[in-house]
Amino acid sequence: MKDINFQYSDSQPKIISNVNLKINKGEFIVITGRSGSGKSTLALILSGFIPHLIGGTYTGEVIYQGIETRSLTLGEISQLVGLVHQDPENQIVTSNVLEEVAFGPENLNLPKEEILERISLCLSATNLDELISRGTNELSGGEKQRVALASLLAMGGSVLILDEPTSYLDIVNRAQVLKTLQKLNLSQNMTIIVIDHQPEIYKDLLTRLIVLEKGSIIGDYYAEEIDYTPYQVSVNSLKKIRILPPNNSIDNILQTDEYSVFLKNTKILSDISLKINSGLIYGIIGRNGSGKTTFANSLLNLHTNKGKMSIFGKNTAKKPTHEIAKDCGLIFQNPNHQIFEQTVKKEILFAPSNLNLDSELTDEKIHQLLVDSSLEQYKNSPPFGLSFGEKRRLTVISIDVYSPSILILDEPFIGQDRYNFEFILKILQKRKENGLTSVIISHRKELFNLVDRFIIFDQGHLIGEGNPREVLPIIKSKHLYPIMEEI
């Protein structure tokens, strides 16, 4: 990359500024940096989508093996380099694995025999042989990620770029994806470029770490020079929250008894008996597809359920969701699904106004929330235009603003940098100090030093509940975390 500069429009600042970068064949590079530092834009430039498909002011040159990418079409570039997006779900075009892997080679108009050869090789390289007949909607997160990888490998390129490839995955699925990347890098000498907020995940694989800030490279380190500390949340800041004593603790504010949940008449969760107390932070963990999100959604009656469920001792089984929301807030995985209003300020008032709680909110409180979340400058801007990290902060404060007794956060740390992670920690700390309960669903290892209690799901069953030490044997046996020094 030579002198790369890019801005999406004249009214916006430069998102990439004077980037010069030389990457050798067979390197395994991790690019990190804060949210909005330009990492994903850099990936779009490297993969040719900028300037070929996405508009903006672009200067500089990207050269692959001596060929400048502007002289090629996007289809030609796709035979040199492939980009795997953060959420593979959004990348899958067809209905089954075979069609998905065949899609690229079919477009290249290759002879049928060569297409079959490429598919065979790519399915083997990504260990997908057994899944060939599967529908793409039947795959787990890790399997989808590998299908996305295989479908780009089939294009025959020698460079793979992956945008946060493991953020949605549990530890077992993550290990599978990392193993596949390592195999491609070492045995096929492929160049791998990964964009991630957590470079330490790749510490056994990477050869270089590149750090971006405000669109410029501020650090370029070889493996042996890397200090991972600046990219990690400190254990002390997590433990500081855990050791806070529960304030006015009330037992069993939420209780389920022989509780089962159904999706399209299929039983997803069976016989869940659980008690949640006030003033604590709970972590819900389990493999992909174990029923964590289904359980969280069912607590607000978003799914059909049977058995007993109560909040503050009152049966909520028949209560409509919008009434339960007053006591139990839920923050979805994808912030785009939970934004409704036309300005950021109105968005904060959306839930309180629906729940008739807006009279308790003063302008000062809203102003303070906006300042604390660094969204003050956007208060009259449309929330759909915010970055992913900003949207996440907005959805968190939009529910925390009315202080529900229970707040459930479903994968709140996906795609979030350390700054946004620490912002959510502040919210959790404040809630604990005020005697409110928070429940976090996450695969992040930081949970082990943060939460007071774990709730563990496995294949639709509750298999453990207790403080991190108590449930350690289950965590070990179910491979939920690469044990153990942090605990």
Binding site: S95, L108, G329, Q338
Partner: protein, 266 residues
């Protein structure tokens, strides 16, 4: 060739063999059109509703391969009621059957229902249900990309054929997004079953923005994914599955059309 690669190749061959035995989607599409035309040609309500009933039973009890979610009938029922109201109010031909509101003391009767109005109401509702239910069967039993390929075999440009199949592929995805957004609204305290005009307006307003945002994001991602895999690079593409028209497909279609014609005549 290594052992693992050989296994993959065998599995691919088995998969391709299986899909080549399925009914050609274009034939299926023509059959659906033929049935829809039949609904518009007949006025025999018994036959019409019997066919709809049979298709509904087939649809609900047969596990169709591309079915993502069972449809909600509420929308169909509301729309049918609207059809009934319009027909009953508009048509005043034929004998008077009854009054919707009978005479009470000296008031009324109101809203006379005429024979023709009643007949047309039931006929149009039947046509509406007939077309919708048969299209469900087509969507849920057809691989969108097989449909695109079979259209391409008939010399439809592949870019056009794939646009159509993408619309089919992402209809259930969009449906799912709407459900997620509706759920999200409720978790933010919005009543999903409002009993006022203002409430209904708010519900629609707060669904529209996230749906637009979500759809635009989806379009962007799919465009990147397709263009990033050389879609449209060449005038032609090599289909892995050929989806040729087979004699059996044509015989099936011929039998169906013959059957429909016989039903029309007798």
């Amino acid at each position: 060739m290594s052992g693992a690669v050989k296994i993959s190749r065998e599995l691919i061959d088995v998969k391709l063999e299986a899909s080549s035995n399925a009914t050609n989607p274009v034939i299926k599409f023509i059959a659906i059109i033929a049935i829809a035309v039949y609904y518009f040609m007949i006025t025999d309500l018994y036959r019409m509703y019997l066919l709809i009933f049979a298709i509904l039973i087939y649809y609900n009890f047969k596990a169709l391969p591309y079915q993502v979610a069972k449809p909600k009938y509420r929308f169909l029922i509301i729309f049918s009621l609207l059809i009934v109201i319009v027909q009953l109010a508009a048509s005043r031909q034929g004998d008077l059957v009854f009054f919707l509101i009978p005479k009470i003391f000296n008031l009324g009767p109101f809203f006379p229902i005429y024979q023709k109005g009643l007949f047309y109401a039931i006929l149009f509702v039947g046509r509406f249900w007939g077309v919708i239910t048969i299209s469900w069967v087509f969507i849920d039993s057809t691989n969108p990309f097989d449909f695109a390929q079979s259209l391409t075999n008939l010399k439809v440009p592949y870019r056009l054929a794939y646009s159509l199949s993408l619309a089919l592929r992402f209809t259930p995805v969009l449906n799912n997004e709407i459900t997620v957004i509706r759920n999200a609204q409720q978790t933010r305290g919005l009543n999903s079953t409002p009993n006022s005009i203002k409430g209904t307006y708010n519900l629609l307003k707060f669904t529209l923005f996230p749906i637009i945002s979500s759809t635009l994001n989806r379009i962007k991602d799919i465009t990147l994914s397709m263009e990033g895999r050389a879609f449209g690079l060449y005038v032609d593409r090599t289909p892995l599955k050929e989806m040729p028209l087979q004699i059996l497909d044509i015989i099936q279609l011929f039998v169906l059309i013959l059957l429909l014609m016989l039903l029309l005549m007798f």
